[in-house]
């Protein structure tokens, strides 16, 4: 081989290996994060964590029971408001609307998706906290709903669009009106994909912290109803992580592990279902 060919072969081998290294490095970031959390968090996970309320600085044995329930409440509200809006809007875009209107709404949803979460928090604060004059799970839920709408919209539109023409026309041929055919034939055909999109969206908002900082604030106790400041896992993790007490750090690790575990399980399950659905579609 000539020198030039040797050089080209060397470059080839080096670059190929480097890209492989890049891929392994980036993929292993997840393992590293998970590993570190499990290492530090699993020792701190005890029964107290899931059942007790947070204690004063310096006292050990407290837990994050109220934050777990609080997060569930706020995320539930966010999904309750955001998922129907995103879903029905997606139905509109896919089934009923004309092209320009569809493009406008799609563009607006993408705009909303790109808004930094802290700015969404400002909006929720201005629209709900200020007029009602208290922090509440509603305000936090509203902020989160704004973040779940674009995801749900995109998933709904995408999967409704994949429903074959034959199915739709079949329903119409049998005499169903447009809305009936959509409700009873088209949507159920796309339901797996839409559900997984919703799960992914809800998993994402359950980890959000910034929009909750001045909407749901935080709470030392159980919050009654949805009208009070509510503790949430992400906010507690933040508070505990920046503190000076070792016991608080311990709890931050435990909470981080719980939160990440929930989010990852939801993501993995959703993606596996999607992949199975896509394979069945192609096969």
């Amino acid at each position: 081989m000539t020198l030039r060919r040797l050089w080209r072969k060397a470059v080839n081998d080096v670059m190929l290996t480097m890209t492989g290294i890049c891929a392994v490095l980036t993929a292993s970031a997840l393992f590293f994060i998970l590993g570190y959390l499990i290492w530090n968090g699993s020792t701190s996970l005890d029964w107290n964590f899931f059942t007790k309320l947070p204690l004063s600085p310096g006292e050990s044995g407290g837990g994050m029971a109220n934050a777990i329930v609080g997060s569930a409440k706020i995320v539930f509200l966010g999904a309750l408001i955001g998922v129907p809006v995103g879903f029905v809007a997606g139905v509109f875009l896919s089934e009923f609307s004309g092209k320009t209107l569809a493009n406008t709404i799609r563009f607006t949803a993408d705009l909303l998706n790109g808004v930094p979460s802290i700015v969404i928090g400002i909006l929720a604060w201005a629209l709900i906290v200020v007029p009602t004059r208290h922090f509440s799970a509603w305000a936090g839920g509203f902020a989160l709903s704004l973040m779940v709408i674009p995801v749900t919209l995109r998933a709904t539109e995408q999967f409704l669009g994949q429903v074959p023409l034959s199915l739709r026309e079949g329903a119409l041929a049998l005499g169903a009106s447009k809305w009936k055919s959509v409700a009873t034939v088209v949507v159920p055909a796309a339901r797996t994909g839409i559900m997984t999109g919703i799960i992914l969206g809800v998993a994402r908002i359950s980890g959000e912290t910034a929009p909750l900082l001045f909407t749901a604030l935080n709470n030392q106790y159980w919050s009654k109803g949805f009208n009070e400041p509510t503790a949430s896992l992400p906010v507690m993790i933040y508070n505990r992580a920046i503190s000076a007490f070792d016991d608080f750090h311990r709890q931050a690790w435990a909470a981080g592990l719980v939160l990440l575990a929930l989010v990852l399980v939801a993501n993995i399950a959703a993606r596996m279902v999607l992949a199975k659905g896509a394979a069945a579609h192609r096969g």
């Binding site: 539930f76 709470n219 109803g225 920046i242």
Partner: protein, 339 residues
């Protein structure tokens, strides 16, 4: 599938809707300075009166004032007495200041190889926070601490990133003892720091100093004690090096105890007296004088009465100084103003 979803929704509502106790929640927010003792008080009071639950969020004195102004909390807490403009801004009611305890702000540090107690003068503290004294091996520090082996390392200055009454007390003290600080920076809950890293809350400053070698920060006494962090003594107005403690903080309040203004807004930094700790302060609960909800009003007034008597006994255990008797008497009279 559908039934599972419905059951899940019902379960969440069941947890959320108040079922058992008709306990009302009082929402409060404010200073982190008295955080530990307020926490203890609210827990104790809740055990004694299960139907009263005070949810106190330590978001900083600035936050307490802001949220009280916005009306999102029932009362606030601050280490900085509200300024006239801030009080005037609230049109719905007039703010009453209720001093709760006395505390001291200490310079806490984490220096490699230095275990003992350091002596700080107004000049060295101002110099460090102005960015003029940049190394621990500086001559000024060596002069005040003969025999201490300082490393030749840069000083990492830590301050608050949020609106803080502790910052106000620290900067108020520095303004009084350093004309340069007063001109360049001034005092307030959020100031334009010449140098340093910002950390959130007293806890965040303590955490940052604890984790960063060769750093210095200012925190309320209890935060340094509870974290086993070293803190220094400060040269007071009379020229003595005094370390913050129950006695020295109480000594600082001696003058104010006798001549407390009617609205209780007073600064006791750089107080006269040989045993006075120069960076001491009262901390206040900011109570509206008009509370429309009758239940809340009774509960708040009852809590304040409890705080002024039984509650004061908890102070010493957490390294805060209880209120002097004349001040307590005056406050009890102010209770009548809450309608």
């Amino acid at each position: 599938m559908r039934t599972t979803v419905l059951i899940a929704i019902a379960a969440v509502f069941a947890v959320a809707v108040p079922v058992t106790c008709a306990a009302s929640s009082i929402n409060a927010a404010g200073a982190t300075f008295p955080g530990p003792i307020y926490q203890k008080w609210f827990e104790e009071y809740h055990s004694a009166h299960p139907d009263v639950q005070v949810n106190y969020q330590a978001i900083g004195s600035g936050g307490g004032i802001a949220q009280l102004t916005a009306g999102t909390v029932d009362f606030g807490a601050s280490d900085m007495p509200m300024k006239d403009e801030q009080i005037a801004k609230i049109t719905k009611f007039h703010v009453l200041h209720f001093p709760t305890v006395l505390g001291g702000v200490v310079p806490t540090y984490n220096i490699e190889g230095v275990k003992g107690e350091l002596k700080f003068t107004p000049e060295t503290l101002a110099g460090i926070y102005l960015g003029k004294i940049t190394k621990w091996s500086d001559a000024a520090l060596k002069k005040d601490n003969p025999g201490v082996k300082f490393p030749d390392a840069d000083i990492t200055v830590v301050h608050r990133s949020d609106g803080s009454g502790t910052t106000f007390v620290w900067s108020d003290y520095l303004s009084k003892v350093s004309p340069e600080w007063k001109g360049k920076v001034g005092s307030g809950t959020s100031i334009n720091w010449p140098v340093g890293l910002g950390a959130k809350n007293n806890e965040g400053v303590a955490g940052q100093v604890k984790q960063t070698p060769n750093s210095i920060g200012y925190v309320e006494l209890i935060y340094a004690v509870k974290n086993n962090m070293a803190y220094g003594s400060v040269k007071n107005h009379a020229g003595a090096f005094v370390k913050a403690s129950l006695d020295t903080v109480t000594a600082a309040a001696a003058g104010a105890a006798k001549e407390m203004p009617a609205d209780f807004r007073v600064s006791i930094t750089d107080a006269p007296g040989k045993n006075a700790y120069p960076i001491s302060t009262f901390t206040w609960m900011l109570i509206p004088d008009k509370i429309p909800d009758a239940t809340k009003r009774t509960e708040i007034v009852d809590f304040l009465k409890w705080m002024l008597t039984t509650g004061q006994k908890d102070a010493a255990g957490l390294d805060y100084a209880p209120l002097p008797a004349p001040v307590v008497a005056k406050e009890q009279k102010q209770l009548a103003l809450i309608k």
